[in-house]
Symmetry: C2
Subunit: 357 residues, 2 copies
Amino acid sequence: MFSVIMAGGSGTRFWPASRNSAPKQFLNITGKGEMVIETCDRIKPLSRDEEIIIILGREHLEKANHIFKGRGVHILSEPEGRNTAPCIGLGAVYARHLGCEGPVAFLPADHFIADVSSFLEVLGLAEDLAEEGGIVTLGIVPDRPETGYGYIRRDNGALFKNSTVYRVMEFVEKPDLDKARSYLESGEYYWNGGIFVAKPETILNEIKVLLPELHRGLQQLESAFGNDGIEKALEEVYMKIEGVSFDYGVMEKTSEKVYVLPCNCGWTDVGSWESLYKMRAQEYDSGKNLVEGQTLLVNCEGSFISAKGKRQIACLGLKNCLVVDTPDALLVADLSLSQDIRTIVEKLKMEKKEELI
Amino acid sequence: MFSVIMAGGSGTRFWPASRNSAPKQFLNITGKGEMVIETCDRIKPLSRDEEIIIILGREHLEKANHIFKGRGVHILSEPEGRNTAPCIGLGAVYARHLGCEGPVAFLPADHFIADVSSFLEVLGLAEDLAEEGGIVTLGIVPDRPETGYGYIRRDNGALFKNSTVYRVMEFVEKPDLDKARSYLESGEYYWNGGIFVAKPETILNEIKVLLPELHRGLQQLESAFGNDGIEKALEEVYMKIEGVSFDYGVMEKTSEKVYVLPCNCGWTDVGSWESLYKMRAQEYDSGKNLVEGQTLLVNCEGSFISAKGKRQIACLGLKNCLVVDTPDALLVADLSLSQDIRTIVEKLKMEKKEELI
């Protein structure tokens, strides 16, 4: 099976570790290597390196070429981000260009999955369904009324007897807490992890109908593959096309062929320092501190100290504190407020400290 | 008037800003220059540079020569610290060697005084009393039941009618909170700031009687002054003599000539980051934060951020937090626990990280 790893986008939620030059997907924040590499390695049982297409922003191309040096993965760069529909379309036409006729898995590069074998099992099932012409999305089984994710509502009965395949009834935006609670209770809602499987042909046919302008662009790109003109073609096409998400532009409008497979695989999008801290609970010390690097702790509790530099860090009496030390910037924060880090980044922008962002 | 500035001793209470190589008295922690310089500058109206003798540890001699370059102050270095009695004796014999016959002020180099004119006024009064043969100590009028200082108990009546001169009844060690409260209520107790005034002759006569071994050492030193042998003599004498405080070795045992002058001059020994924070209240921002250096604060309260390096520091949602950033070490602590920093320093010692201490 081919896989398209979607590694575009910049991110500031892990500032100061993440910067425009090194967003989350290029960071080793889980302690297991850069997330984009982890994403490739995770699907090894399904996709060989030669079957992997990584799509990322041009500003990260050099970095990606470096970290994937010697591996046979294919790397494509977008001149500018245009949301997921163009990215997925590009992945589909490029997979076809490489000779792929069967299903392709589309995977965000910056998510964490604890139970890889469950994940691969569901992905294998998705492959079978996609072979028949479906667009199959993975529905992450929720374990809490999370308000930070979009949801997928399934049909109330399975597609086949004794199966766990459902038609998708609706994609819903991030809910408020009351709604999230009712979603959780109903058992009919899953988190939308942005992971799905479909054949290039299926996807491109849908795009042709629903996003005809994008489809024309993709045809233009396809004819440039194999020539020297690919970068130029990408520039031209990306200047013209509109940015739109695949969920909104395609999935919501073509629900007949869209299926959801429940997946219970310890998935998280690792959206903040706090969620990273919670995710790595098995690494806590006796005071529930998560500590990376040369750090000396005295009477600290529930704190996350990330010190990957050479400096000595000493912490005394901290409670639920976040300390992230990098060579040119230091963050000290209340760990539970780590989603507000964008405020810091916005202020740095206003102060024109571009080199720190 | 001559002044002896006592600048010996190492300190770890301001780690990581203070190190063995740069203890508090050589730091600019009050924002007004190195404390030892501030101490010299403060007494300018009473002592010209040529009348100032600075006594410090040999390890800081080079630094002191550097920061006092071009000023006519006299600098003496002790081969090893031996507490205050030998230091004061050395100051007394050296002042006499420089031709001083009148009173000498002995001043710790690492204290802060907010109201300098009140301080100098009391010091002038002390000079007059010392001229008559007294040993005059300044009694800092307490404004709270502080358990971190020693106290001086005065006689319950003044020495002269309408004067504020009292005989010293007792020097008392750091009290517990109950005792400190009763001291404060009684009105008869002052904080012992370690500041006093006496003629060299008065001091040396007392030392001759009470610490005869030290007196012999001081005679040996005195005869070496003006020769090349002063460093060697200091080595020899300091190897032999016992370390003892002037309070314990002399003042407590000779109370007849010992007077205390109440002094209300905004004195503090700046004993911890927290006390430094409290002292500098006039520099707080609207959230009662004290901020030094390139720091970006969002929703912080009552925190002290000292960032004198070049790194960008960002703080988010901190309450009563202390952040001290230096090029090779960073401290993040609960500000109210800043007196426990010694625990950190002890641990670094155990880990043999001498370069950080």
